[in-house]
Amino acid sequence: MIARLGRLPWGLFVLIAAFCVPAMGSRFYTFLANDIVIWALFATSLNLLVGVTGLVSFGHAAYFGIGAYATGLLMKKLSVPFLLAFPAAGVLAGAAALAFGFFCVRLTRIYFAMLTLAFAQIVWAICFKWNEVTGGEQGMPEIPYPSFDWIPALPVVGGWRTAEYFYFLTLLMVALCLWALRRIVGSPFGRMLTTIRENPERAEFIGVNVRRYELAAFVLAGAFAGMAGGLFGIFNRGVFPDFAYWTKSSEVLIMTLLGGMGTFYGPAIGALVLILLNQQIVAYTEYWPFVLGTVLVVLLFAFPGGIAGAIGAMARRLTRPRRA
């Protein structure tokens, strides 16, 4: 019975449920859902590096930030339509990932992590100080929403607010991106990345050019993070330098761990849980970092596989044939 439960198209159910959120009538819920959906993409993109390839990056927010600034600049200052500005975020972030990643993949483990951090801080510093282009410390407020004028004319979907249209758009874009990432992870390329994670020396000697594959993973992860950033800039009604600050990188890394690096949807679950938890806790106390730290410690000691890992373990225990 449990096994049959596992085979249901949960992804589809979640997507449909997500589409229904605005129908609940609360702008706050829609806002929250929008936040979660974007971070889910961000975290899943990081997991391509951490969970699939085994590369721990401390600077993933750099690409998030680059994507956000790219879309923000294009839409606000150059009036580029969303349908061009959004993929541009991915392309620009991917290009940056190519440039940075080229150097990063030459290093291993802690040095790799430190260099990703250094590059991210460089991006942050540029965003922070380049007043003419990025608005400097003040950032770029008032990024316009994409034009939704044509929608109210449509029969069924008319009648929502702009923020809700944007939510539907976000949901659609993120669903597409996650679908693409899913295919990548389940492809031969994805399997090669897994071999690198499991045993890079062995991977070399089945013919895998480890460095090249790592760079490819880095670029893809950066591109998708950039797209998440592009969406977030609009959602947030403004783009700010702290999008690229290392604390953002640590937030998304924690989400990935919380949800479970070992499964595809783990990080998305982590995003959901972390954002909801944050909402709840912040209402009661200002000591959110304390709570987060404690949750993290519990996780590290008791549930290293994250939430998804714990669910998976429980499911396996329930489906194991009972011994007489």
Binding site: S187, G190, R191, T194, E198, N199, F205, N209, V210
Partner: protein, 245 residues
């Protein structure tokens, strides 16, 4: 098939390999033996590209592969197993072998297809030949040591090599396991017409299947030739049976 010309490798002043040359003919089975620290694994690493020789050359089928990166050396027709079992622990037995096919057949650039059913037949064939077909769904990290070594052999075979390099294939095995493993290796090598170069500690193993033996001691070749000749060589007897410092 394989020709090594006077390779040397030093680490911080310690000469691990001090001018070793050897040649292995196509289809031959050759063994490198020597006491611990003789430089066998370093020598292997020099051939496979994991290390770059300070001087000397390595030629595979006439082609100079000195200093070529391991992933390229593998593509040129060399397969290798490692002394410490090197598999992909969180992948299943099937996936371990399949990965080698995916890489070898150039499928690594495919970002779109579902990987599940690719190369099923070839993978099953290799699994059958190494005797792990019934366990193809198990996670390889949980296999016994002997089974993992068999799997490693399978991974090396899945790269469809013409030259197989095995580093201590029976290390840590019981007498029965050793016998079975050697029989398996011998059969596979003969069925596929592979050239085999392996290192070993176990003399019985070596003498049972090797056609040519190279004896390494302190980074140098001290004897080379057919098993009977090597067995009788006084220098070899001294190194193996004589008084150790």
């Amino acid at each position: 098939m394989l020709e090594v010309r006077d390779v040397r490798k030093a680490f911080d002043g310690f000469q691990a390999v001090a001018g070793v040359s050897l040649a292995v003919e196509r289809g031959q089975t050759a063994a490198i033996i020597g006491p611990n620290g003789a430089g066998k694994t370093t020598f292997f690493n020099l051939i496979t590209g994991h290390l770059r020789p300070d001087t000397g050359a390595v030629l595979l089928e006439g082609r100079d592969i000195t200093g070529v990166a391991p992933h390229d050396v593998c593509r040129l027709g060399m397969g290798r197993s490692f002394q410490r079992t090197n598999i992909f622990p969180r992948l299943t037995v099937f996936q371990n072998i399949q990965a080698a096919y995916l890489s070898h057949r150039g499928r690594g650039r495919d970002l779109w297809s579902s990987v599940e059913r690719l190369y099923r037949d070839e993978t099953d064939a290799v699994l059958a030949s190494i005797g792990l077909l019934e366990r193809s769904g198990e996670l390889s990290g949980f296999l016994s040591h002997g089974a993992q070594k068999q799997l490693e052999l399978g991974i090396a075979l899945a790269s469809e090599p013409r030259l197989l390099l095995l580093d201590e294939p029976t290390a840590g095995m019981s007498a029965t396991e050793t016998r079975d493993t050697i029989r398996l290796i011998d059969r596979i090598v003969r069925d596929r017409g592979l050239t085999l170069l392996f290192t070993e500690h176990d003399m019985d193993v070596v003498f049972s299947i090797a056609q040519k033996i190279i004896v390494l001691h302190q980074g140098r070749v001290i004897a080379e030739g057919a098993p009977a000749d090597v067995r009788a060589d006084p220098e070899v007897r001294r190194v193996y049976l004589g008084a150790r410092r």
